[in-house]
């Protein structure tokens, strides 16, 4: 039988990328790469009928993908110390 691992929210992870604002029922629509991304600021699933899906709590992978996309997302996400995003290269 396959082992199912529950997603760990960014809030529950002490290290790595962190949401600057942690709050249930708050979802940010932004970009991760070239695609639109739904970023859940809480620790519970959020029903987002717009796209017919459930937005799960943010994972480290998603936070990193968003952070790497645009400098303005430093207003939403804090990166680990000494981390350099692609948009910081050469700065």
């Amino acid at each position: 039988m396959a082992e199912v691992t529950a997603p760990v929210s960014a809030e529950q992870q002490p290290k790595g990328f962190k949401l600057l604002r942690v709050q249930d029922n708050l979802v940010t629509i932004c970009k991760a790469g070239k695609k639109a991304a739904f970023l859940n600021h809480g620790s519970k699933d959020v029903e987002f009928p717009s796209k017919g899906n459930i937005v799960k709590p943010a994972t480290q992978e998603l936070l990193k993908a968003i952070y790497d996309t645009d400098e303005s997302y430093t207003q939403l996400i804090e990166a680990p110390k000494d981390y350099k995003a692609p948009w910081q290269q050469g700065k």
Partner: protein, 182 residues
């Protein structure tokens, strides 16, 4: 047989008149807007406590809607009156009720898609010095429901406007249609 040699695209400005679609939401549903260094909106944070908290889409007939931003200077201050005007052809209970719901909102945020595929975020003012934004309490203005008179020249239609006063022209929205929560 003739041969057509392809030429490079010329750098004409994207300037086609008119708007195609708007998406409207009540101000209270929008928690935060994120701006980048070039003053464009790169993210929107929505309160999703109830399923209804999303933008409502309104599509228009071709060449029937516009988004006008009229700027005036009052001594040291600038004011931009943002007006969205559109025609809904035909009188129906569905459109009537949709317009009634739109008129029930006294603070709207509206994303406007123009015919040059630019997205404008109307209904807010963004202060570039403080990097703070605020809602402009944009709401419906004048309108009409008219059967008109001449079947050979006219149509029955609703005309609706949405109006707000902003600090400047509406900022651009960078997330495209995929990033609008509907």
């Amino acid at each position: 047989m003739s041969v057509i040699t392809a030429i490079s695209l010329a750098a004409c400005p994207k300037a086609r008149a008119g708007i195609k679609t708007i998406w409207a939401a009540n101000c209270a549903q929008v928690d935060t807007l994120t701006f980048n260094a070039t003053r464009e909106i790169t993210a929107i944070t929505m309160v999703v406590a109830t399923p209804a908290n999303v933008f409502k889409r309104i599509d228009f007939e071709e060449n029937t809607a516009f988004f006008n931003q009229a700027k005036v200077r009052n001594k040291s201050a600038v004011n931009v009156t943002q007006t969205i005007s559109f025609v809904e052809p035909g009188l129906s209970n569905t459109v009537r009720n949709a317009l009634e719901d739109l008129n029930g909102n006294c603070c709207l945020h509206i994303i406007v898609l123009d015919n040059s595929n630019n997205y404008h975020y109307a209904g807010i003012s963004f202060d570039i010095e403080s990097e703070e934004w605020s809602s402009d309490k944009m709401k419906t203005g004048e309108g009409s429901s008219n059967t008109n008179t001449d079947p050979t020249a006219d149509q029955a239609e609703y005309i609706e406007t949405v109006v707000g006063n902003s600090i400047f022209y509406a900022p651009f929205w960078t997330l495209g249609e995929a990033g609008i929560p509907v």
